[in-house]
Symmetry: C2
């Protein structure tokens, strides 16, 4: 049964993958932390992280960046709404994703349903293998994730038990590191061995067993047609490969992309916005000739240098280090140019959104994390208060997905390469003589025929030689589980020269897969800071969103409540709408300082204060610097900053600063 | 049981509403058609429409505007993918929706999960009443929609049976008109009476029974927590009312909006892209004081004139007629200004997308179509080959939804209006004396107390009078289903004057709800036409999408395959990307005519043919007019047309036409 957990590797190179893959690294890291720090340091560090997270999360909830879904009904674990500013941030992130990937790379975007029939997810392996291991409270039936309980036990022991022997400490650390490699039996034995009980009741627990993470439903009224809410968007692209290839003029490479909802019925969601039951994925499937994985635009990213964490460095307990992507490819650290190209593009995408490049690393999957068919796999991990979080998976999945659907559907999902001129190839031809085989094997004839036809070149040529020298030969038929005697007249084996006009092959797929909600959450943490108020008696919250991401681009404040100023404010508002800039007017009589603080908390980059009828004050969020601008110029100034045409520094060069 | 179908009215003012509401009008129309045309005319007309639809649908499928989902597995009825051009059209429609409604009206956008716990949909009434009537093949178990079978039977009889008596004809027409008003029993009796059997097997059918149209699932691992895939996005907004009201500074009116997937497990989907099991909805909930439904921006739409079809005109078998929206409101045809404002805004939205204004009408719901609580309801209906299709519902739903969630959750979803100065109001005070009631009624005390407290003003004052004159009175307690004697000492009833500082009330909600997929399908039909090829031997397909909607804004064709031209093409491509214009380069050696035809079929508005290194030819899709433009100017010219800054006529005025 050890293999069961291993089988999870079937489709787990994406982010949000099943437990086996997704948690090995944090454990390794946890172990390193333990090794390098005293218990006191670690506890203080954890407390600091927790306090920071609370400050961020409080601000996010209070300003409705997100809302626990169905709150008035006491909510549902793992489901969250985006409130108005969160929704705007999400729309901005998705619009930039579409610009950066779909438009700039001429990708074919598709939009497929969430409701998916069982057959598709059987082919992909999800029905059988998309599971987490679960234990139940023997008496109440409450369910827990088995690995979570074991992890909590080990961590608590290590953190709080001061009488642990060195041997026991080493053992617990080993368990943490191995957590995702355990079979259900091993996991069950550990839980029993440590005497772990249900956290809420202290009742005994069942043995661990797999729980499928897909939301199940039924399509149509009969109840006979099983379906699931898709656990990822990728399958919708794979099943359309044939049409998309045709749409692309039967040419490779090309990429298809999809943005949409995905669903995973987590056993017991933790980690707030990071582990949810419904989330937005943005996935790219780049189809490429397996014999040529170069990328024509690689030179555009090749000089980028950023934190990478190759497999070998992880195994030898080193740290992530800065590598130029070109070197990573040429040294074979990254498997191929196309994979390297996407790693570079993902780096640009994340940092342009505002992710701190020093808390972003590309971590290569370890051999035991990677599916057997995968050529290579890298996760973009972002460090936040929960540790290093997998936010984008970039995998070379070889031909696995297209082959799986070819096999299940019978529709060949293949590409063709026409040769400039026909090629002469030598082909093995195995021709069983059915009449003779029928006489000899009767009811077993079909199995023998199939076994003969399935021979590889080496085996076939050996059989041919044996038949020619001895007239007969022993031959093993797997499906009959026995050895039969094949005579010379029962099969003809030869090599024939054929002219081929084209090569037919299954493309490889390189898949960058983005967990949009996770990226946004990390962005919140990386953008958040606190600073003292003017009079120093209060800590004020600020989100330093780049204009690209900011939910609202600017605010308009009439300095005092008076009709003249309000009219100027309305005029400015109109000109902002005309150039497509979102804004918020605040005409409350609140002090200007309070109004600045309010919009700093929403991450609004620029504030326009109307303090005369001809010119106004424009204030930048982070520097708090102010300039004076004519009423007629202000909309185009704001636009040039928020569109990224000018930086604030450019603006300052043109307009002298002004002290309020 | 007649009430059952009626109850469907609970939440059916939106588009895609349950059968009761959604099909009454097509039937009425069908009846009118029958009355006004001979059978031959009707049959020819139907054939023509069918042929037109086939031409559109063939083009759409061939060019991957849409793809039947999971096609390689033989698909699933009612599920469709958007392929690359369809996906781009959808993104354009949604971006325009967001601009036209969310941004221009400063709406609060939210984004809630599709997975919804049962309690929310119990409160909304969907668990109990969101059903269609179904019959089963007695032997095979195949399911059919009961009303569909009866409708098909009547239509076929009327179309093909030439020996129908006048009486029978009238009867069948009456059945068609009444189809959605039948109770399950009446529907069953008709099916039995006409001897209708299962279409595929001719087996007998079961009695009709309600089938809930929501996809059911289970949240979390226990299997005990029922959930559904949301059938609409509106509930996510209602349950967040309290937070959104606070976010808006506790001020009314304000609107919240949501774009997202919705799911309906149709019994047997028909009508291609119009009746699907998963679709994108865009919904607005505009919360307003029930005592003031004026709209500050009404004057911006008030002079618009378009086809309206008021209730009275439908009942008296008139046609839709052009009405100025201002007059519709002032004459009381449309219930209030806010409803009128949104009708106007929806008209602008649809016609700017390219919906033909002569095939767009606003039809008012008949009294029997409308939920009992609704103040008024209008559907934007678009005529296509399937008839008049409900694409947007615009309903004044009064306080129903907020009250339903207040009752179920116990959280008051209300608004407050502070009075400028406190108001003196007279309030009814009913104070049951629990001790006396307890002695008199023992275990029934609670029910008597509740009944007394629930009295309206009139009933209470009558009881008070009776108690004062006779010392006791008979009093009916519904929950006990009996009459009890109440004595003077058991309750005190009085009117007290109180000072109130604010008014607390449940806001009304005005809900425009858009079926994005239906709008897009109608847009395809309204944009499609065929024209002869240059040599006249072929009919070519064209989509006359406005630039706003077009999936690709322009194409770039090097006239002949040569390096110089291809470099110019690349230079133009780069300048198009820089100004954010999507394009497609076609460097195949195909004739320029064929390349034009290909992109006309995708609805690309402008084509740039590179036929020199300094200037190029720009060709407009519908007029086929061509102008010559400098290479350096072409990107900004294309942008000005596709952004709507210039029309093609403006361009022609500046650049003389050019014959190729």
């Amino acid at each position: 049964m050890y293999g069961l957990n291993k089988q999870l590797a079937l489709r787990v190179t994406t982010i949000f993958s099943v437990s086996h893959q997704r948690s090995i690294k944090p454990h390794l890291r946890a172990v390193h932390t333990f090794l390098s720090a005293t218990k006191m340091d670690a506890a203080q560090e954890a407390q600091k992280r927790e306090a920071f997270r609370q400050a961020v999360v409080n601000t996010l909830e209070r300003r409705l960046f997100y809302i626990p879904s169905f709150k008035i009904y006491r909510g549902v674990a793992g489901l969250y709404d985006y409130g108005p500013p969160g929704c705007a941030v999400k729309a901005n992130v998705l619009a930039f994703w579409r610009q950066h990937f779909v438009l700039e790379e001429n990708m074919l975007e598709v939009d497929c349903p969430c409701v998916t029939p069982e057959v598709v997810l059987k082919a992909s392996g999800h029905v059988e293998k998309f599971t987490d291991l679960m234990v139940k409270d023997d008496k109440t039936g409450t369910c827990y994730r088995a690995d979570h309980l074991l992890k909590d036990y080990c961590k608590e022991k290590l953190e709080k038990d001061n009488n642990l022997s060195a041997e026991k400490t080493a053992e617990l650390k080993h368990v943490l590191a191995m957590l995702d490699d355990f079979s259900p039996e091993e996991l069950g034995a550990k839980i029993k061995g440590y005497g772990i009980t249900a956290p809420d009741t202290k009742n005994a627990l069942s043995d661990p067993y797999p729980f499928n993470l897909m939301f199940q439903t039924s399509i149509g009224p009969s109840g006979l047609s099983h379906g699931y809410m898709r656990p990822e968007t990728a399958q919708g692209i794979f099943v359309n490969f044939k049409d998309l290839y045709y749409y692309n003029g039967n040419k490779l490479p090309f990429a298809a992309a999809q943005i949409g909802q995905a669903f995973r019925n987590e056993i017991s969601p933790r980690q707030g916005l990071l582990r949810v039951r419904e989330f937005t994925l943005a996935e790219i499937e780049h189809f490429v000739d397996p014999e040529d994985k170069s990328h024509p635009k690689f030179s555009e990213v090749s000089k980028l240098e950023f934190l990478m964490f190759p497999r070998e460095d992880q195994v030898s307990a080193k740290q992530a280090r800065r590598i130029v992507i070109e070197e990573a490819v040429s040294q074979g650290i990254v498997n191929n140019e196309t994979l390297g190209y996407f790693i570079g593009r993902v780096y640009l995408f994340l940092t342009q959104l505002g992710i701190d490049k020093d808390r972003l690393r590309f971590r290569q999957h370890l051999a035991n994390e990677m599916a057997h068919y995968a050529a290579d796999c890298w996760d973009a991990e972002i460090e936040c208060s929960y540790g290093w979080i997998e936010c984008v998976g970039i995998a070379d999945r070889s031909a696995f997905d297209l082959r799986a659907h070819t096999d299940k559907s019978g529709v060949p999902l293949v590409a063709h390469e026409k040769y400039a001129e026909p090629k002469e190839v030598e082909k093995l031809v195995i021709a069983p003589v059915k009449k003779e085989l029928g006489l000899a094997f009767k009811g077993n004839q079909k199995m023998v025929v199939e076994a003969l036809e399935a021979m590889g070149e080496k085996e076939a040529m050996e059989l041919k030689a044996a038949l020619e020298s001895k007239g007969e030969a022993e031959f093993r038929v797997c499906t009959l589980d026995k050895v039969v005697t094949i005579k010379k007249n029962m099969v003809s084996i030869s090599k024939e020269k054929k002219k081929e006009h084209q090569r037919v092959f299954t493309p490889s797929v390189i898949e960058p897969s983005f967990g949009i909600g996770r990226i946004i959450y990390c962005l919140y943490e990386h953008s958040f800071y606190m600073r003292a108020s003017k009079d120093g008696d209060e800590q004020l919250n600020v989100f330093r969103f780049p204009p690209l991401v900011a939910p609202i681009k600017c605010t308009v404040f009439p300095l005092v409540q008076n009709q003249q100023y309000e009219e100027v404010a309305k005029k400015i508002a109109k000109s902002l709408t005309a150039v497509g800039i979102s804004y918020k007017i605040d005409i409350t009589g609140t002090s200007i300082g309070k109004r600045y603080a309010r919009t700093d908390e929403l991450g609004v980059p620029l504030a326009i204060t109307v303090d005369s009828t001809t010119s106004v004050t424009v204030r930048e969020r982070d520097s708090k610097q102010q300039i004076r601008v004519n009423v007629d110029e202000v909309a185009s100034l704001v636009k040039s900053v928020t569109d990224g045409v000018s930086t604030w520094a450019d603006i300052l060069w043109k307009y002298p600063t002004h002290s309020s």
